[in-house]
């Protein structure tokens, strides 16, 4: 094998970079997105190791020490049954993160394709799909939840499905709105001229160009899903007491708003931190998917 001599001037030919790699690289060049990823990773780690980390058990009732404020022994204070709020927040992360991610994942997995298809094909397909979504959206979420409980049986997994189902029409509508506009772009016609299948046009061309509002809705839904888990828990659909979930803790804390604000504040902060870090990642992802924004980010790394 011979090594071809190369003049110093000659640049090595650029390797084609795969799209996902490129997005990832741009994403991790964004400080906030990295911070978000790190926090999310820590949260997930916390959820996995919850039992090990939590200083107390989730149902270590201690009535005499109920409603005591944050202290050395109970950093986040105690709740109305004298349980350690910190421990409950830590253990609750498991359910809440799951609910958030899985429910939103469900809604994404169904809502976005429905919106894409409806917005791309318009006409009858659009009418049928969107009216179905309208029907779904019209239901009081609680009724839907109770019905799912009845059909699938109670439990956290079904709670996720229920929440996911509630969010599906929202994703569908949001997606469809943007798809309708993007479908009219010339590059869509160009893709069609190449003989691209509808599926390809929808997922390769339209989807990346409508991702911004979907990302926003995803981060929002995450917060709402975690919160609405509380409502479902009350209907027996979610996690059952004494197992904690952030939304449920917040809801219970409301009754002690004046006596023990920490009962609600800490789970609330946990939700906020999750949502914020998710948001940072979402914003970073959006930028990474937008080549113009990407250029701006890359140019920061260059001394021009």
């Amino acid at each position: 094998m011979t090594v071809a001599p190369s003049t110093p001037m000659e640049r090595l030919p650029e390797k084609p970079v795969s799209r996902s790699r490129e997005i990832w690289q741009t994403l991790i060049a964004n400080r906030l997105a990295v911070a978000g990823l790190v926090v999310l990773a820590l949260l997930v780690l916390m959820a996995v190791l919850a039992e090990v980390i939590a200083p107390f058990g989730i149902n270590d009732i201690d009535i005499p020490n109920r409603l005591t404020g944050p202290s050395m022994s109970h950093w986040f204070g105690t709740d109305d049954l004298g349980r350690d709020v910190l421990s409950r927040v830590i253990i609750a992360s498991r359910v809440s993160l799951q609910v958030g991610f899985i429910a939103v994942g469900f809604a994404l997995a169904f809502g976005v394709p429905i919106g894409l298809v409806a917005g791309y094909y318009r006409g009858k397909t659009d009418s049928i799909l969107m009216r179905l979504m309208d029907i779904l959206f019209s239901f009081p979420a609680i009724l839907l939840a109770i019905a799912i409980l009845a059909v699938l049986g109670p439990g956290i997994r079904n709670a996720m499905v229920a929440i996911g189902l509630v969010y599906t029409p929202i994703f569908a509508r949001i997606t469809r709105g943007s798809v309708i506009v993007v479908s009219e772009e010339v590059y869509i016609r160009a893709a069609r001229s190449l003989g691209a299948r509808d599926g390809r046009i929808i997922f390769r061309h339209i989807l990346p160009n409508v991702l911004a509002p979907i990302i926003v809705q995803t981060t929002l839904s995450l917060a709402f899903a975690i919160l609405s888990e509380a409502a479902l828990s009350f209907l027996g659909l979610g996690v059952q007491p004494p197992n904690p979930a952030w939304g449920r803790m917040l809801a219970e804390g409301r009754n002690f708003f004046q006596q023990a604000p920490w009962m609600g504040i800490f789970p609330g902060v946990a939700i906020l931190v999750t949502v914020m870090s998710f948001n940072f990642v979402g914003d970073g992802l959006r930028d990474a998917l937008d080549p113009k924004q990407k250029s701006v980010i890359e140019s920061r790394g260059q001394s021009v």
Binding site: R11, P16, V17, V186, A190, S193, L194, G195, A196, R204
Partner: protein, 335 residues
């Protein structure tokens, strides 16, 4: 003309015009293409020229069924495109390509150049491995005068001419039989123009490609085409061999057009006489009665405002739609 690869007859494309009001109502049509008939032979290049807005792009799109024609038929290689279902049409697209007039708008802003050019290969599974595809993309970029190093860059990072060449590379990727080139060289410097035309010619020679070549640069059109069709307000008004059209233009519009071709010589260009077209430019929204050119035609005479001239063959391979060349009326013209 050799055996036709493409036969377009009486093609019509109307764009609906909607009124104001809460719920838009269809009130009128823009007759962008209104009864266009022509053939393109295998291995032939048909130049398509005409005034801006006369329907060239729309014709090109309708021929490829990228917009649904309102009427008429397009037969490609013996197949009436309107009879094809979605899937067959899609498969046929491997053999037909379009170079878009607006290069930037036709490039997906979120795809890198490499992905854009590689897309047709992927769609029609023309390359087996990723590496193959990357190689081929590099080849294609090089072919149009772009460095393969640019493959990871995005459309907004390119100059107008570079974007146009990306579009050309994409169109060439599947090695189609037939390409509609809608102003493929408008944004290129002359050297690259020459390079692209040479490339297209080479491909034609090697692979027997067929082109519809839409351009405003009549020198380039004449250089590149075998036959040239002149369009005016949604119709073909003259079709002729490249030389015949230049040397003996029959339609007054063609003559006017030719007289306006700029010459790259300041001395000549600044002293040249152009045929100035007077009168209002007609609109496809409400085309004039009779011959659509009559209001601006220096030679208009009695029948022109009333009778719509049909495209008829006057000489061998030379068709024109003008009363001046209607044998039945030629006497009147003289009068």
């Amino acid at each position: 003309m050799s055996e036709p690869l493409l036969e377009v007859s009486d093609l019509q494309v109307y764009f609906p015009v909607y009124g104001k009001g809460l719920v838009p109502r269809h009130i009128n049509d823009v007759k962008a293409v209104d009864g266009v008939t022509f053939q393109v032979g295998r291995g032939e290049t048909l130049g398509l020229v005409g005034e801006s807005g006369c329907g060239k792009t729309t014709t090109g799109l309708a021929v490829l069924r990228l917009i649904e024609p309102t009427g008429g038929s397009v037969v490609f290689d013996g197949v009436d495109l309107s009879t094809l279902d979605k899937r067959d049409l899609r498969l046929l697209r491997k053999r037909m390509a379009l170079i878009f007039q607006d290069p930037y708008a036709s490039l997906d802003p979120r795809m890198s150049i490499g992905a854009i050019v590689g897309e047709p290969l992927e769609i029609h599974r023309l390359t087996q491995t990723r590496a193959d595809r990357d190689d081929r993309v590099g080849e294609l970029l090089e072919l149009v005068g772009l460095s393969p190093d640019y493959r990871n860059r995005y459309p907004h990072e390119f100059s107008g001419g570079q974007r146009q060449r990306v579009g050309i590379a994409r169109a060439l990727a599947t090695e189609p039989d037939f390409i509609v080139c809608d102003e493929p060289i408008a944004a290129l410097d002359v050297s690259i123009q020459a390079g692209i035309m040479n490339l297209l010619e080479d491909l034609q020679d090697e692979l027997g490609l067929t082109y519809i070549f839409i351009a405003h640069d009549l020198s380039a059109v004449q250089h590149f085409s075998d036959r040239i069709a002149v369009m005016y307000l949604g119709r073909v008004v003259e079709v002729a061999d490249r030389v015949a059209l230049y040397e003996t233009p029959q339609h007054p519009y063609t003559a006017a057009l030719l007289s306006a071709v700029p010459v790259p010589n300041p001395a000549v260009q600044r002293t040249r006489q152009r045929i100035i077209l007077e009168g209002d430019v007609p609109s496809p929204l409400n085309p004039p009665s009779g011959c659509s050119f009559h209001q601006r035609c220096p030679k208009a005479f009695e029948p022109c405002p009333h009778v719509d001239p049909a495209l008829r063959t006057t000489k061998r391979d030379h068709d024109v739609a003008c009363h001046l060349h209607d044998p039945a009326l030629s006497g009147a013209a003289g009068a």
